[in-house]
């Protein structure tokens, strides 16, 4: 074995739980004991040496290796076949535009929202259908959980330490979904963000809790999106006025209406870009009059441009429920998409 991590001996699996909990190395839920065999199996599946550099957290210069990532993945419940997705997720989080330190240290209390695209979803048994935002399947649940353990154990993002969240939200336990590409009239999210359709990919976004909405009383795309825009505008008023990435989750029942009307993903993005915006003076309606100042007529769009809207197909077959997933804090953190198996920092081979 070439694993370099410190080893501990415990009596049994129950003792392992107390060992990790007592050191604040968990999220409070039971963990799978990371034995050398289990960790090595993850590395073997992904064909990564233990010392492989996944990335460096740019603010605190914290090095993250494949071995340490695999240990946390095993603890979260990952099988070896999930590990390449964990690698892609953390690779994306470590890209500078994501600003992982600021996002995870902030009092704003966001979580890392992870969206999986491509053939890998079906290979590992992911579902973008029933209960899409509530731990719909094993793979998305454990991959999302790994993010939390990685933040705790490799970046010290524990409550009261680096994590200064005032409230946080339940997505911090696990906030990962697969897109329902099979039942989607548009190109996939990752394809929309520049990844070839037959490649698998991961998109990460520093995100607040999902805001659920419902509109079962129209078939017109504009009216359906007006409900989404109203929810986005509520977020602009109640939370943060700054534009950034927003995600909207559209279930099959509502997607059918877009399909019937011939609306593309781009049409949706442009409609929301044009309509999800408020005037600064609206802050006075919600108790924030003190910060309106002399700029009451200044307009604030939710999106800097249409591309900042992540349109995601997911949800069970029945119900006109959708969700708006707001950004942590405007454009300070950018959503990042990475292809599974890609090595962003690798040098091209010489021909």
């Amino acid at each position: 074995m070439s694993l370099a991590s410190k080893r501990y001996e415990v009596e049994d699996i129950l003792a392992a739980q107390e060992f990790y909990h007592s050191r604040k190395w968990t999220d409070g839920l039971p963990v799978v004991p990371p034995t050398s065999d289990a960790v090595q199996a993850c590395l073997d599946w992904a064909m990564l040496p233990a010392e492989h550099l996944i990335g460096i957290e740019p603010v605190r210069e914290r090095v993250i290796t494949a071995e340490k990532l695999a240990i946390n993945a095993v603890m979260a419940g990952c099988l070896p076949m999930h590990f390449p997705l964990v690698v892609a997720t953390v690779t994306a989080m470590l890209q500078e535009p994501f600003l992982v330190h600021g996002a995870t240290a902030s009092t704003g209390g966001c979580a890392v929202f992870v969206v999986i695209n491509g053939p890998v979803r079906q290979e590992v048994g992911m579902s973008g259908s029933f209960n899409a935002l509530g731990s719909s399947d094993r793979a998305t649940t454990v991959i999302g959980r790994t993010v939390r353990l990685v933040l705790c154990n490799l970046l010290d993002v524990r409550p009261g330490e680096i994590d200064r969240s005032t409230l946080g939200h339940p997505g911090k336990l696990s906030y990962c979904i697969a897109e329902d590409e099979e039942d989607c009239p548009w190109q996939s999210l990752s394809e929309n963000r520049g990844i070839p359709r037959d490649a698998s990919a991961v998109t990460v976004m520093a995100a607040g809790a999902p805001r659920q909405l419902m509109n079962e009383w129209t078939t017109k795309p504009e009216e359906i999106l007006d409900t989404f825009c109203a929810e986005i505008k509520a977020n602009l008023r109640h939370y943060s006025i700054y534009p950034g990435n927003y995600a909207i989750v559209i279930p099959p029942q509502l997607r059918q209406h877009f399909k019937d009307a011939g609306w593309s993903r781009r049409d949706i993005q442009e409609y929301v870009f044009e309509n999800a915006r408020i005037l600064r003076r609206e802050w006075a309606d919600v108790g924030k009059g003190n910060v309106v100042g002399g700029r009451g007529d200044q307009e604030y769009p939710a999106l800097p441009d249409p591309e900042h809207l992540l349109v995601i197909a997911a949800g069970g077959p029945a119900g006109g429920f959708g969700a708006v997933i707001p950004p942590w804090l405007g454009h300070k953190s950018k959503a990042v998409t990475v292809a599974v198996g890609a090595c962003l920092d690798c040098e091209p081979t010489a021909d």
Binding site: Y8, E9, E11, A15, W25, A105, S106
Partner: protein, 93 residues
Amino acid sequence: MSLEILDPTHEGDSGSFALASRLSVLEGTTVGIISNGKKNTIPFFDSFEDELKTTYGVAEVVRTIKSNYSAPADAHLVEEAENWDAVVAGIGD
């Protein structure tokens, strides 16, 4: 049967750094404040500046603001800080 398990943490492998040397007196010094720039920090650091000057005899307080309050200080601010005797990391909310 016992179980051998692995350490999931970074095991303290972060880059080493040294604390800046401390000043023995504040009187006559130049103190810089790199504020995160949030709105409520302004009156707070106004009072702090006043306290530094009136109570501790600080000669000059240089007030600067980061361009992104969630990111590290801009390179030009770090460079400017080399001209000061002490720096205050101005985190406020």
